[in-house]
């Protein structure tokens, strides 16, 4: 084997990654373009809102309540090292609204929704339903992608808002039942400490994560390979790509919103 072979292999991988990023960017651009031009499929949009928003509520709620509860315990234990146990309400609130609410909510939605969108659209592709849409004069981007992306962008922030509230309540429950906080004081400290942008930044993150989740699901579904294996690979890729993109974009957004 030539000494340059590993470099050639690395170069090929970088080129493939750049090409894939370019294809994804074009797909995102086309999706945004179609958002602004008719026809609009209201029924498909409402159905996507139900599937993505309403039906994700239980999993996001459960994630939030356990996260808020565990966070309260951790902050109490950590705070005790320098006599700062009293900050539990404030740190739970800021931790949930700025970071854990949107990120864990986004990741749970990615697991549930990106996989389901990729599997549904991938199956439609391998069973020629996408071709059938085209022959019936219906643009698959407009009919399948746009309603899902729009619905996820609008409903994930709402899920994040509900998740924030449930997460804070999880912290309150543990704080008052296990750690001996006074209920009214806990809530007062939480409310007085939180600023609008603590919550608003999390909601903006939620909208970005929702867009990412639906975009990845649609992109990998539309580009699914043949057969059950192709759909399986598309589903896996959609979840992995959405999760990594959520974590990476979370860092970028946090830098933009909160760097001094």
């Amino acid at each position: 084997m030539s000494l340059t072979a590993p470099l050639a292999h690395l170069g090929a991988m970088v080129l493939a990654a750049l090409a894939a990023t370019g294809r994804l960017a074009l797909f995102a651009g086309r999706t945004l373009g179609h958002l602004l031009t008719p026809p609009f499929y209201l029924r498909e949009f409402l159905h996507a809102c139900l599937q993505i928003g309403w039906l994700s509520l239980p999993v996001v709620g459960l994630t939030a309540i356990f996260t808020g509860a565990a966070l309260a315990l951790q902050i109490y234990a950590g705070g005790a090292r320098f006599s700062a146990e009293a900050v539990v309400p404030q740190i739970v609130a800021i931790g949930m609204t700025r970071e854990l609410g949107p990120v864990l909510g986004g990741l749970m939605v990615a697991a549930r929704v990106a996989s389901s969108i990729a599997a549904e659209i991938g199956t439609m592709k391998v069973t020629e339903q996408i071709d059938a849409l085209v022959t019936l004069s219906t643009n698959p981007m407009k009919y399948l992608t746009v309603p899902r992306v729009l619905a996820a962008t609008l409903t994930v922030p709402l899920l994040v808002a509900v998740g924030d509230a449930i997460g804070v309540m999880g912290g309150w429950l543990v704080g008052t039942e296990r750690l001996g906080f006074n209920s009214a004081t806990y809530m007062k400290n939480t409310i007085e400490f939180l600023e609008f942008w603590d919550i608003g930044s999390g909601l903006v993150k939620g909208a970005v994560f929702g867009f990412i989740v639906a975009l990845m699901g649609c992109y990998y579904g539309m580009n699914s390979g043949r057969g059950a294996q192709g759909v399986g690979r598309a589903t896996k890729s959609a979840v992995v790509a959405a999760s990594v993109a959520i974590l990476a974009s979370n860092y970028v957004l946090t830098e933009v919103f909160f760097s001094a």
Partner: protein, 248 residues
């Protein structure tokens, strides 16, 4: 009606179409035969614009298919897909009326449902089937629903991709008869892809055989059995021995 001139298409290193020339007259039923992987389905998808040819020209009613308005162009077509390609999330009548409820000339829901039920009746399905989902139907019923959807908007041109694949011989015969009746009744131009020689004889006015990405033979169905072309003879008689290589 459809003129195909020198169409080439490759997927990577795999050269599927290598200069296909074919003409389908208005109101004619053309059946395209050939082995698996010879490019029959790709040719249909090129005509519909689902796949862009690398070279060559396709004209429908004299218009270059790459230069026409997509919606107006596709409105002239109906297609029955090999597996039916019915939308799982919709009921049978919603599948059949899909095109009728969209676009400029869309019909109100009740009227579209009536038309769908009428088309279902035309393909031999009872109105009770209208509210079922595709997954609740047998393979033969799914083909009929696919056929009803293909003819729902009264297209000028209908494509049938392997219409009898996966059906028992009796159901295949029923589908062949339906296709023939409907094409004659509507005066539509039909292009069918099939391996099934019974279908060829039941449906075709003309037959074209594709081999290695080119039209090997074309002519009236009545002349098919008498042609001396060894490729056609091997294919229509299903012989393992002959110029077409078979993998064992």
């Amino acid at each position: 009606m459809i003129q195909i001139e020198g169409v080439h298409k490759a997927f990577g290193a795999n050269q599927v179409l290598r200069g296909v020339n074919l003409t389908v007259g208005r109101g004619e039923s053309m059946v395209i035969i050939g082995g698996s992987g010879t490019g029959k389905s790709v040719l249909l998808k090129c005509i519909l614009g689902l796949v862009r040819p690398d070279a060559g020209m396709i004209r429908v009613a004299g218009e270059d298919v790459t230069r026409v308005s997509r919606d107006a162009f596709l409105a002239r077509f109906g297609m029955l897909f090999q597996g039916g390609a019915l939308f799982d999330s919709m009921t049978v009548w919603q599948n059949v009326a899909f095109r009728l409820m969209r676009g400029k000339g869309r019909l109100p829901k009740d009227q579209a449902r009536e038309v769908a039920i009428e088309k279902l009746r035309r393909v031999g399905l009872k109105p009770e089937v209208a509210d079922l989902f595709p997954a609740e139907l047998s393979g033969g019923m799914q083909k009929r629903v696919g056929l009803a959807r293909a003819i729902a908007a009264q297209p000028e041109i209908i494509f049938f991709d392997e219409p009898t694949t996966g059906l028992d011989p009796i159901m295949a015969g029923v589908i062949n008869e339906l296709i023939r009746e409907i094409v004659v009744e509507m005066g539509a131009t039909a292009v069918t892809i099939t391996h099934d020689m019974t279908s060829v004889r039941a449906i075709a006015d003309h037959v074209a055989m594709i081999h290695r990405g080119k039209v090997r033979w074309t002519g009236p169905v009545a002349e098919m059995d008498a042609t001396p072309d060894p490729y056609v003879q091997q294919f229509i008689h299903g012989r393992a021995e002959g110029p077409i290589e078979s993998v064992r």
